[in-house]
Symmetry: D2
Subunit: 357 residues, 4 copies
């Protein structure tokens, strides 16, 4: 899609939210991409540097202005278009841009599900472009790298699903855990709620506060269960509880899993522990953005914030027979914009870590 020496031209639609802002940060510094357009209704006419003074050090930020979103202009200017829009709105851009031969990397939920019916169940409106669902690839590079490579419509995963799927999928595929009874208990920083004026997310309403929300049927369950179901070869139902905690960024997930084979003795436990370690090593030893902690360390969001890395660790509990897996990621990077840039790198044939370390 490009000549070997020129950078790929990229655009961001909806660049004034938290994910959009992070895309701006990553793409301004990307060694092989040139940011050619950023759109935002509220910021149109202003330069990036005016809207985000912290990026003023990049020369491009002082000349590139936000524009009103316009499909024809985007198609003319950009090779790859990132959509950082609310669900239900992305299709309006994705349909014509894909038709025009552009690569679309969508950060919304609109193209993550294979089934328009499931979409309607969880998002409470008809899918705006069901014909495109079959063309979309779920943009989790550690699972769908090959499919991403040739795709023109990449549905970048949700923040919670990333934190749940990466720890769970290898175990499920290896038959080490049962597909039933999975519980995912997650905590997210407030940036996950987006940059919107809402009393619930005022500083004083979140600081010194912890609360669950969206129980028991959060929208992200739809993609979590879809991907776990594919790995298990049968439908999977998950218990998922998100909580809001007073940090800007970061998701921590604790997973409660049932080993496929009961362990009773210390020897059986040690054996299972080794098989889990081997499973994770096989899956992630060569992955640049998954860090499996062995030894005593447990995941901590402060060790991944600002990076595209997800870290995970596990513990077998001989008292309950369960397997606990904990993960930590930056919800805006590996959980959104960083993972989208990872897909950009794959689709364009760049080193996968380009612009991400």
């Amino acid at each position: 899609m490009r000549t070997s020496n020129s950078p790929v031209r990229v655009a961001i639609v909806g660049a004034s939210g938290y994910s959009g802002e992070e895309l701006v940060r990553l793409l301004l510094s990307h060694p092989h991409a040139e940011l050619v357009a950023v759109t935002s209704r509220q910021s149109a006419g202003q330069t990036i540097a005016q809207v985000f003074p912290k990026f003023a050090g990049h020369p491009r930020s002082r000349t590139l202005k936000f524009t009103e979103p316009d499909v024809a202009a985007l198609a003319a200017q950009a090779d790859v278009v990132f959509l950082a829009l609310p669900h239900g709105v992305s299709a309006e851009f994705a349909v014509p841009l894909v038709a025009a031969g552009r690569v679309v990397i969508d950060l919304s939920a609109d193209f993550r599900l294979r089934s328009a019916a499931v979409y309607q169940e969880f998002y409470a409106h008809a899918h705006p472009a069901p014909d495109l669902l079959a063309r979309a690839v779920y943009g989790l590079p550690e699972v769908y790298r090959d499919q991403i490579r040739g795709s023109s419509l990449i549905a970048s995963p949700g923040c919670y699903p990333t934190s749940i799927l990466l720890p769970t999928l290898p175990l499920l595929r290896a038959g080490l855990i049962k597909p039933s009874g999975i519980i995912a208990d997650s905590m997210s920083g407030v940036s996950g709620a987006g940059r919107k004026a809402d009393l619930d997310y005022l500083f004083c309403e979140c600081n010194e506060s912890v609360r669950a929300y969206g129980v028991p049927k959060h929208r992200h369950l739809s993609e979590i269960e879809q991907e776990l179901g594919i790995a298990a070869g049968a439908p999977v139902t998950v218990q998922f509880t998100p909580h809001l905690i007073p940090v800007n960024r970061g998701i921590h997930t604790t997973l409660y899993l049932a080993p496929a084979k009961h362990f009773a003795t210390a020897a059986e436990m040690a054996d299972l522990d080794q098989r889990i370690a081997a499973c994770y090593r096989a899956a992630y030893a060569d992955e640049p953005f998954v860090r499996v902690l062995e030894g005593k360390a447990l995941p901590d969001t402060k060790n991944v914030v600002g990076t595209n890395t997800l870290e995970l660790a596990w513990r077998l509990d001989p008292r309950t027979g369960r397997l606990l897996v904990m993960s930590a990621e930056d919800n805006i990077v590996k959980g959104a914009s960083g993972q989208a840039v990872q897909s950009l790198n794959i689709v364009c044939g760049f080193p996968e870590t380009a612009g991400l370390v």
Copy 2:
């Protein structure tokens, strides 16, 4: 205004903001007051317990419902009405309620200034009820206790002014500092911005952030300079810089003051130090809500949050010849609702600490 054994009937207009909520908390527990009405356009029809579950332990919170604000109903129900409204709106309630013989304790800026012209200069609109200004008392009990006692219109001071006036007035009245060159550098928690849906006060915009705002002519300067001018007997101009910091509550002010008499030797410095200590003791030794720290301790907002106490400490700097005074208070209690209840206690003849410790 009441028989000796029945509680005073109090109402709160605008009870869903942070100051209003704190008034609800204080008045639900007040030993001599009965909360008879709370108004809020957005919460009308709901009980206090529904809007603020944390107060559900008080039986009254489960029966008393928010209503639309209505002057006639307020005049009929309440002896004392607290107005927790934005500036410019209070007069609409204060004028008829005062005319009806009720006591009004206004937490807005509307009746703090003696001059309608100064009000217009700082608040950018004509004063809505200039005739009432002469009747209003500036509700700083440590200064105007006697006038509050017989008043029917008490203009409760602003949060920043309280943190600046209490440390400065005794020194100015005693002639220990010059009235010129006063600098007040303040930091406030985010609750000071009110409970309103505004991107600037989202958790992620305030957390891990510090910034000045409202420089160089913040509205609170008008009342600060009015009260310092009265104490000095001549106009006073103040440099005041507020900063927003990521705490829910608390104001810390550092004051840079010029001693009236130059001190050069260690003996002169020790003498001045003693005179300052004596001045503060004379002013505040018997005040229940001002704590003068002697010794090594410095004010810390965490020692006053949730209380009606302002704490202060001072240091003479022999290198610069200046006097530094630092103060800390809870901006919503001593800086707003607690101080207003202190005025309630005075005007009703209750012990001044009733419901406040």
Copy 3:
């Protein structure tokens, strides 16, 4: 134990930690208690007001000095002694004070377990006073009110156990949930780690961080399982995962429970929902410190911090068949010092809410 009109004389051993400090706050304001002694090796010789300036408003704080802990002096001065000491140390004071006829309310883990063997398993040292275990009462007033009334050794529950037991015990006793498969996923503020100089709890190590710890066998499991086992009439094994989040105070627990009876239809679900509501109402409608949220609200630590209230809510999940119960409490109040004062009120025959609202 006291004449009807004189206040009970209370002492606090280990008053410089977070629980000790909160006991000081509560007991200085308690209408029927007189704080006669506070001990702390590091603060001995200083008044309460010097160590905790925020309590300086209480006259007693300016005269009462911290002393070195001394059993004979405590026995001579106090009717009731609170022990806010690390586990393993309390027995040294509890044994002689109980022998001397004093009431001991112990906030450590030392007397919470009925079995010295279980204590040794979880705390890794022999129990220091196994003979006293049979005399101790587990100080959860909502469960053991009658036993507390006549006791001279009250083992006040741990913070996590309180947040788990109050939501679970009524359901278990009513046979509404299975005793197996219980999962408790908790988040605690940093005060739970105590006031000790440890790199792990520095501001910069906790702020903008979330992490699990103590998995899979946290010490609090011992008392959680003991109490659930008593309610179930058979041993219970629990999965418990604590997480550290950047708030000063507050514990939020999400419980994953299995209804005793499978529900399949909407009608069955509605019926079970009604039975749970009825169960909680029967247990807690008259309890001053448990708030059962019905309707849409979910527990939020900011609604309970600074109070002795635990709030809880539940949701049935028709997709998984599970029952989720969420609770929120202040770990230092209902989870420690407030609950201990509640026991004081019971043992002394005061109104149970005295000094706690």
Copy 4:
């Protein structure tokens, strides 16, 4: 000092504190530097990845182990040695390493002052290597770039001084402000206190707290006054008040300055405003790490955290005749480790922004 194509070999002494950790981060990613040694008594024997899991993505972090500090080994391995040690300790390494021909970049205060007597006055012990003071360069690149270029002992400035000097020096040199009466009121994040186990810096002691400290004679005054005095050509005395606020990183400084020439009319004020703008443009338009905000924006630490940029803005106050200048920086980057790497780039002839954007 190196051949053109090989990277410079760098070592960090004291790499386990916050500044040391940030040096590790910056140098692991530096395009022209190779990290060859990191020392720390407490972490000796562990790899960087073990001590700081978040750096595990860098291959070098998984092989390079912390060692005990050893001058001979450092001299043998490294071309440039960063010292991230407490004041008073650096000289022990700086003296032999400079003698051995190595370049030393010291982040402590030990070589910032030209006068051993002033050092003793502010640091309360004799200077450990007074003979070296004359060889040291104050490592503020925007001022001493040429001297840094040829230096072998660079004393990297303190965090507060950087936030005060960069806004003030150009104005002072241009004669736009008086050298007398300067007040600097600063707020710092808690990382400024270092990674040390101290009760004062526990999460619960800093969160929801603001307090002044070190008044009125903080050690950083010595270097602030030295550098302002050099610029003014005469001794300068400064009023400096640091405050601790609950953020991990960031310093905000508000400076109160007296224009050299009184301005009375709007035209005079506009003229002075233009001259200040021109002065800052002349000083900083070509500086990669100083951002002068014109227009309405004010500095905000959240816009500079994680970067080597200091941002500043100014306001003239016609009411008081003063000039206010506000600055924001990351205390650990521009205020410490980033600025030290900037000096590395200068001394080695790298692009000054290498590894810093």
